[in-house]
């Protein structure tokens, strides 16, 4: 299932922060992780991923660092910062409230089965 891009745009930073909060990853890994961990429901366009990473880095929510991978190739690993964790917590709380609100509106129809 593909989401409306505007809807995804709003939650994409939270999703990226959440995935990175579980450990550092490079771009491709992150892209794969989002797909896999969302059960292929959430997919970020490739053209959206890297600008998003750079923007989060600019906001100092994540940190990029070049490292050698196992294949010997240099990769830029992204990890969440303290500031990013704070932001993630805030965003998650908001999402929770949003979900609760939506559940009330939709009479519990949005709650997981």
């Amino acid at each position: 299932m593909k989401f409306e891009s505007q809807l995804l745009k709003g939650i994409a930073p939270v999703v990226v922060l959440e995935i990175l909060s579980r450990g550092p990853m490079y771009g491709y890994e992150l892209d794969q992780a989002i797909e896999q961990q969302s059960g292929e429901i959430l997919t970020l366009g490739k053209g959206t991923l890297y600008p998003l990473l750079y923007n989060l880095e600019a906001k100092k929510l994540i940190r990029g660092k070049w490292q050698d991978s196992q294949s010997g190739r240099k990769r830029r690993y992204y990890s969440i910062t303290g500031k990013g964790e704070g932001e993630l917590a805030r965003q998650k709380a908001q999402l929770k409230e949003l979900t609760a609100g939506l559940n009330l509106v939709f009479g519990g129809a949005l709650a997981p089965a």
Partner: protein, 702 residues
């Protein structure tokens, strides 16, 4: 950041990916290092995505799909650039913004400078026509003196070099001092010189009549030809002046020394006036016709001529004419009879108006290139009148002498109170010449009461509207015309000074130089123009100064000094030079000019007073105790004003004469002591010492 391994891996990517990345990074337009990092990161992403493809064909297909997923290359490049820019540290952003702002400002400045430098003036007012309108009187053509003056100038025969030199000995200054020194040498060595002439006459005689005429011609031009001896023969001509040669010959005679080769002053002038025998002298060289004793021969001619010129030179400027003066100056006066008739006919007219025309050779015909009347020959004609008057006096033709003096005075008045400063100053100088001559006439001759009254009446009628102040209106128009031609019209400050006009302005200020050399100065001129005040501000400041000048012109030097007002010259000196360069360049030294006008007025009134005093003496056998008696007796209408005290001129009766003087520019009464400067008398005084003595002439005609 990309390692060799990375590069090798990147080479395995399909060409469509490489091209995509190349285009993306090119369009990203950001720092190379950042772009390289992005390339490595994205290339790694592609590699990871394509890793599982079994064949090249599959790889190509997958790559195509990935490229589609990455989306529009241009949009992605923009997004990446923006995101990377946000990652930039603050200091880098500040530096980048600073460079950007500086660049923009520089670009704006360059565009502004180009616009500034390309400014063009707008001609709205024909100031030449306005100037003519200002000066054109409402009179009939037959009352205009100019056509007669023009005719007189056309008929005027200039002085020969010797006449000019002889005349100059009567004008004071260094030339007169040198002439009197030679006269002293001639008188002191009279006997020895006579004997030397007898002994050396043979050398002169041996030249022969033809060469004697040529030599005499050279002396008439005030040059003494000296042959240069080299390689056993005469090879070239050198020259010295007549006075230096005469002094050299007299020194040799006085000291009993042999006449050798005097030190020449320089080469014989090649651009000589018509009539100078250059060709003849050259032919002597070519045909080797210069005798060995040529210098002694020419020394005889010089000594004889020196005797003629200087031996009877009067000690005082106003003394009777010597024979040689009568011979040369008298002949010149006679040659100019017709010119003088026209001049006097012109001087009888009520007004002199000559339309000003712009120089037809001038590109834009500005007011500053208007053609002034030929003032130099006009002034020479006034001097002709002065000599004429003297010669007539010596012949006993007193009435004619009086008429000539009046003619000069009237001609001078025609140039006063209007027109340009130059014309007004020439008018003042001619008027001064006339009144000096009238005073000499009165001093030398015992005029009858009727002659004195006639002279006084006619002199007083010269300025029916009162003695004119210096008129500043013409100069103000010059200023306005220069502003019109030097500034753009409109825009910030009403317009700006056009950089190209600096050449004209520096020429006006007297800094002449080769125009070709000034091209490299264009940036400097542009910068100076940017510093210069705008059109409105320049006009406002100029008007302020010209109005101040006009106000000052109506104040005597004494009042100016007493009221402690700043002179326009002082105001000008206190304002920034380059901000008001145009005003600094064109504003005349008005305080000096208007002071000269006040001196002219004083001279005029003093001449009337002297005539009244002479009349009083004829009637009462003695001079009055005070000038007030002249007023009370109806001999004089008003007391002569001293512009340096704002009181009447100082009058003191002496044994059989009187002294009439102004306290002079130091505003102090020095009891009639003539100002001295470097051991010489200064008739007009200086700021530090002395009075301006107007009578008796014996005090000043030294």
């Amino acid at each position: 950041m990309a390692t060799e391994h990375d590069k090798k891996e990147s080479q395995n990517l399909p060409s469509s990916v490489t091209q995509y990345l190349d285009t993306l990074l090119k369009k990203m337009r950001y720092r190379r290092k950042v772009r390289e990092d992005v390339r490595v990161e994205l290339a790694a992403h592609f590699e990871d995505e394509l890793k599982g493809c079994a064949s090249d064909e599959e790889k190509r297909k997958k790559a195509k799909q990935l490229i589609t997923e990455f989306g529009d290359v241009k949009l992605l490049a923009v997004l990446l650039r923006r995101a990377k820019r946000r990652c930039r540290p603050l200091w880098r952003t500040v530096v980048a913004r600073t460079f950007q702002v500086t660049g923009i400002l520089l670009l704006c400045f360059i565009l502004y400078a180009i616009w500034f430098a390309c400014g063009k003036p707008t001609m709205r007012v024909d100031y030449v026509a306005l100037f003519n309108q200002m000066n054109q009187p409402q009179i009939r053509d037959q009352d205009n003196a100019w056509p007669r003056y023009e005719k007189a100038i056309g008929l005027y025969v200039p002085q020969s070099p010797v006449t000019k030199r002889l005349a100059s000995y009567r004008q004071g200054g260094k030339e007169r001092q040198d002439a009197l020194w030679l006269k002293g040498l001639l008188r002191g060595n009279e006997q020895k010189a006579a004997e030397w002439l007898v002994q050396n006459q043979k050398h002169w005689d041996s030249l022969g009549p033809e060469k004697q005429v040529i030599v005499q011609k050279c002396l008439d031009y005030d040059w003494v030809p000296l042959p240069v001896f080299a390689y056993g023969t005469y090879t070239e001509w050198a020259a010295t002046t007549f006075d230096r040669m005469a002094e050299y010959v007299l020194d040799c005679i006085r000291e009993g020394a042999e006449i050798g080769d005097p030190h020449p002053r320089g080469a014989l002038p090649r651009s000589v006036p018509p009539g100078f025998p250059n060709a003849e002298l050259r032919s002597w060289l070519e045909s080797r016709q210069i005798p060995a004793d040529f210098v002694r021969a020419i020394s005889v001619a010089v000594l004889r001529e020196a005797n003629r010129r200087y031996k009877d030179l009067p000690e005082d400027i106003g003394g009777p004419l010597s024979d040689v003066e009568q011979e040369y100056i008298g002949a010149w006066v006679k040659q100019n009879d017709a010119a003088w008739r026209e001049f006097t006919a012109g001087s009888d007219k009520s007004y002199c108006y000559r339309p000003y025309t712009a120089d037809p050779n001038g590109k834009e015909r500005p007011l500053w290139s208007i053609l002034l009347p030929p003032l130099s020959p006009f002034r020479d004609m006034a001097r002709l009148g002065m000599w004429r008057s003297r010669i007539e006096r010596q012949r006993g033709q007193i009435q004619e002498s009086i008429e000539d003096c009046i003619a000069i005075a009237r001609a001078g008045s025609h140039w006063q109170g209007k027109g340009t400063h130059v014309e007004q100053l020439v008018g003042l100088a001619i008027g001064g010449l006339a009144r000096d001559e009238i005073l000499r006439l009165v001093g030398e001759q015992e005029l009858s009461a009727s002659d004195l009254q006639n002279l006084q009446t006619r002199l007083s009628q010269i300025y029916p509207g009162g003695y004119p102040h210096i008129n500043m209106e013409g100069e103000k128009l010059f200023f306005m015309d220069i502003v019109q031609r030097s500034f753009t019209d409109g825009g910030p400050g009403g317009g700006h000074l056009i950089p190209g006009q600096w050449e004209e302005l520096t020429d006006l200020s007297g800094s002449y130089s080769d125009r070709a050399d000034k091209r490299h100065l264009v940036p400097l001129y542009t910068a100076l123009s940017m510093i210069h005040a705008g059109r409105d501000e320049t006009i406002a400041r100029g008007n302020e100064l010209y109005d101040l000048q006009a106000k000052m012109a109506k104040m005597t030097p004494y009042r100016r000094d007493a009221c402690d007002l700043k002179m326009p010259d002082e105001v000008l000196a206190s304002i920034p030079k380059y901000r008001y360069f145009l005003i600094q360049t064109v504003l005349p030294a008005s305080s000096r000019v208007s002071e000269i006008a006040y001196r002219g007025k004083m001279q005029h009134e003093s001449a009337l007073t002297v005539l009244a005093l002479k009349r009083w003496r004829l009637e009462k056998d003695a001079y009055p105790q005070t000038l007030d008696e002249l007023i009370a007796g109806g001999f004089l209408k008003e007391l002569p004003l001293d512009p340096y005290s704002d009181k009447p001129l100082v009058y003191k009766k002496t044994d059989d004469n009187f002294i009439l003087y102004s306290v002079g520019p130091n505003f102090k009464d020095d009891q009639g002591q003539v100002a001295m400067e470097r051991g010489s008398q200064r008739r007009w005084g200086t700021a530090e010492t002395g009075d301006i003595v107007l009578w008796p002439l014996s005090r000043i005609d030294k």
